[in-house]
Amino acid sequence: MQIFPRSLNKLPFIAAAVGGILGPGVVLAAWYYVTPKNFQVGYAPTQPVPYSHRLHAGQMGMDCRYCHANVEKSAKAMIPPTQTCMGCHAMVRTESAKLAPVRSSWETGKPVEWVHVHKLPDHAYFDHSVHVGVGVGCATCHGRVDQMEVVASDQPINMGWCLDCHRNPTPNLRPRDQVTNMTWTPEQSKGFTPPEVHPPTHCSGCHR
């Protein structure tokens, strides 16, 4: 007596085929899609002040270090304090509505609450000064900030991305005096020999 229809004989083969594709498929899809490449790149939060990097760093040609003054000395590049803004804006565009939060911060002493764009997890140690010190350009990790009206994340900043450069840093090094140059290309520094650097690739290099 048959309990099941004959067509069910195909079921094991179908199940094996579906399982064989589905299992590795899920792993590969997660590997490819579930990454900061898709979640971090292009992240451009609205800031309390519509500060334009395109205007300041691009058209006016201000150096990155005018505001991010600690970048060569410490781990954090530093978000500039209100005083830095007011250094100019005490005299320039003093009535601008866009600058109202900066002026009120100046009066009250409460900092402007800028939104963090390039956010590293707490368990990853990163130091700006050592990277800038060996000649990794600002634009290498942050993209062409001089063309951004609103700052957006240009690179995924995930662990694999860090490791790619730590394993082969030479292509991302430039002369130290060109670090903040947004338009630098390797052709501009023919004959430049990048320094011998050996960035750590072991766990405790970054997870200290």
Binding site: I3, F4, L28, A30, W31, P156, M159, W161, D164
Partner: protein, 477 residues
């Protein structure tokens, strides 16, 4: 799995199943357990096991919510009950594989009465064991880091670490054991299907039996598959616990760093596994009236294996001390003195009395054929083997190289609930197995019954048992 033309009576002239067991009585005895309503005792046991399982769920939920600090583990005792329980459960599983694979390849036909049982025990023990590495990593939602999966972090497990070997060893073990158990079940599931009256029951067992009709062709494929799986499982009996022992042996800690660990662990695993099979078997055999299938002969043979492996383990304990002295390493010697006479001496001597002294009772035939004695000894062995792992792990860690950080481990309530909870998990699974799956390998036991002799005649059956050479005599008839 080809049975000889005539069933050989390898263990003297006593048949492997009890007097009067026939094909019919065997099928009836095993299959009706799954068909009749569950007895009241089963429900009582099941509900108490399930409530322990509930306790485990709560303890683990609390652990997830609060963090690993709810356990007693702390510097310098980073591994404590979690790894003790893991190694203990994995060890228990080993008897199942030994019985089903190694004894099969050695044609020890007495295994047929206990192999289904022992294999089921293996699978449930491995499930209980797998709970611990899964939860002891702290952030359990990252437990998948243990597997070599590609990810954007470009991070792979450290292939030089024995912990990743452990992942492979145990997952292979779980897979092969499950397959082995299931393949062996197919003919018996078909028996249940054919006996089923309820259409739903027929469908479920029918699906699980994979269309088994008992055709010659089916048996040929089945026996080949079974042989291949037995051959795959056999090295696992030795390799899995060897790899588990590498977790300790490849470290530099005195008390762990010893070349004797792999054989010592394997012997201990088989020892504890047989003890667990014995405990469960004695209860089930009495409750379900399987005395004619699992005879005193089986129990006695298992006791002999426990005597051998228990003595091997005792030898290893002694050898560890000898090498600590003979090796001339002060730290090693300190570790072992501290083990036997330090703050954990109570655990050490519990282990020695349970593991080394208690199985020595089995030298005496009277004691190894006494049900109460073997029941008590099987339980003391299980306790002793748990203490063995506790002693190895905790006494080696609690006084390491830096005396300023010496400590004393005490379990917390969550430790205790988690451990007791895995016993609940084990018995819940085991009771479900007893209720729904044929607990004895019907088809295999039939192969060793007198009735499977092609020349079997019921009226001659009794005479058969006393003939030394029935083959030639009966072939001429």
């Amino acid at each position: 799995m080809s049975y000889p033309y005539l069933p050989k009576k390898e263990l003297g002239e006593v048949p492997l199943a009890g007097e009067g067991a026939t094909f019919r009585s065997l099928t009836e005895a095993v299959a009706r357990v799954t068909e009749n309503p569950a007895p009241r005792g089963w429900w009582i046991a099941f509900l108490s096991a399930a409530s322990f399982l509930g306790v485990m769920t709560i303890a683990i939920g609390y652990l997830f919510w609060t963090g690993i600090g709810v356990w007693g583990n702390n510097a310098p005792v980073y591994w404590a009950w979690d790894i003790t329980n893991f190694v203990w459960w994995i060890g228990i599983g080993h008897a199942g594989t030994l019985i089903s694979a190694v004894l099969f390849l050695f044609r020890q036909k007495w295994r047929t009465s206990i192999n289904r049982f022992a294999e089921a025990m293996t699978i449930f023990a491995v499930i209980c064991a797998l709970v611990f590495p899964g939860i002891h990593v702290g952030r359990t939602w990252y437990a998948y880091y243990m597997l070599p999966l590609p990810s954007e972090m470009q991070m792979w497990p450290n292939f030089k670490s024995p912990l990743i070997w452990d992942v492979f060893a145990v997952s292979t073990y779980a897979t092969v054991s499950t397959l082995f158990w299931y393949v062996g079940l197919i003919p018996d599931l078909a028996t249940l299907r054919d006996r089923a009256r309820n259409p739903l029951r027929k469908k479920i067992y029918g699906a699980l039996a994979l269309g088994w009709r008992g055709a010659n062709r089916h048996w040929q494929n089945y026996e080949r598959a079974y042989l291949i799986l037995a051959a795959l499982s056999t090295p696992l009996v030795l390799s899995v616990h060897s790899v588990v022992s590498f977790d300790f042996a490849t470290s530099v800690l005195p008390g762990w760093h010893a070349t004797i660990f792999p054989p010592y662990f394997v012997a201990g695993a088989v020892f504890s596994g047989f003890a667990m099979v014995m405990t469960l078997m004695l209860i089930t055999r009495a409750v379900y009236g399987m005395r004619s299938i699992v005879t005193m002969k089986h129990l006695e043979l298992m006791n002999k294996i426990m005597l051998v492996t228990g003595s091997l383990v005792g030898y290893a304990y002694g050898m560890e001390f000898f090498i600590a002295w003979y090796g001339g390493n002060d730290y090693e010697l300190f570790c072992f003195k501290n083990r036997a006479f330090g703050p954990y001496a109570w655990a050490y001597w519990t282990m020695i009395s349970c593991n080394v002294i208690s199985p020595q009772l089995f030298w005496f035939k009277k004691l190894r054929t006494s049900i109460p004695v073997m029941f008590v000894v099987s339980i003391t062995i299980n306790i002793g083997m748990w203490f063995e792992r506790f002693v190895i792990i905790v006494t080696s860690l609690h006084r390491d190289f830096l005396p300023s950080s010496w400590g004393y481990f005490r379990p917390t309530l969550v430790d205790i609930f988690t451990y007791c909870g895995t016993l609940g998990l084990f018995f819940t699974a085991f009771l479900l197995f007893l209720r729904w799956v044929p607990m004895i390998a019907i088809a295999e036991v039939k192969g060793v019954l007198p009735e499977s002799d092609p020349h079997y005649h019921p009226e001659e059956a009794h005479a058969d048992h006393h003939h030394a050479e029935p083959v030639a005599a009966e072939a001429e008839e």
